[in-house]
């Protein structure tokens, strides 16, 4: 899929996300000395942001609910994703995870 947004819109997104990201990174470096760090409840919530956001990004890409449980589970992306997750868990290696995941998708696609 390719975007239908024009170049100016894409550059605007790059600019806005870039400025916001820099503001987040610089926030406490700038504020330090004025306040005493992050409030504990924000720090607590921020700890769970990576797991929650990453799972919300991954899950719809590998889980495609079908009419039956079998159709949902026996999906090439879900099977390849499960293999890749196991590789990520045991090797903690991003290259191995991507390589095995792509090979698994290709192998499952050829077998089914």
């Amino acid at each position: 899929m390719t975007t239908t947004y024009g170049p100016l819109v894409v550059w605007a997104v790059v600019g806005v996300v870039g400025v916001a990201t820099f503001a987040i990174r610089y926030s406490f470096v700038y504020l330090f000395g004025r306040i005493d760090g992050v409030p504990p409840w924000i720090e607590e919530a921020l700890r769970f942001v990576p797991a929650a956001v990453l799972a919300a990004l991954v899950a719809p890409a590998v889980v495609d609910p079908g009419p039956t449980l079998a159709a949902t589970v026996l999906d090439d992306r879900l099977l390849a994703g499960a293999v890749a997750a196991a590789v990520a868990w045991y090797t903690e290696n991003m290259f191995a995870t991507i390589a095995v995941g792509l090979l698994a998708l290709w192998a499952v696609g050829a077998a089914m």
Partner: protein, 228 residues
Amino acid sequence: MLPDDFRAGVRAALPSILGLIPFGLVAGIAAVNAGLSPLQAVGLSAVVFAGAAQLAAIDLLARDASLAVVVVTAIVINLRMAMYSASIAPYFESFRRRWGLACSYLLTDVSYALSIAEFTDDQSTDRRWYYLGVAGAIWAVWQLTTVAGALLGTGIPESWGVSFAVPLVFLALLVDDVSDRPRLVAALVGGSVAVVGAGWPLNLGLLGGALAGVVAGVVVDGRGGSDA
């Protein structure tokens, strides 16, 4: 001649750079496959310099999601850096203003984790040089691999399924992050809500899943704390 602490920082960053190379290539390839120009792909890496947020923004742009969802999603993904900023700020306090700005721009998961470990272990390290070694090495590799990916991108046939590399990158980062039960619950709830909400307008399933996951993580963590 570069100071020893700069070179020590570069050396410390080397193992993680092996993981960064495919990640950067995917960021470049995914950007041009989504219809961005190679210059926009490289601009994204140079201006935003945050891999997971870049890939999410690219993915949402490719699906023509609303611009508010694209921007808010990328910002939510990068909110964790506020934690790093707060944690590392005391060590940047003695830097001149321009170095504080430069070091903030270079702040990433890996540069934070490696530097904070060194700063707390060894008081004698020249913090600015060490940090610039770690973060500068990561920055250079990220830019070079994105350029390579952006140039390769359109030459790779769709049938190879390389677009599946994007969720695989997120998956590798996710598995690495899920180190305890509250985080596992946050991931399970976030992922489930996102699957249920996959058809919601404005890609709200993503933001809804993220929010539900964070709330679930906080709740489970609170219960675990009171039991202990």
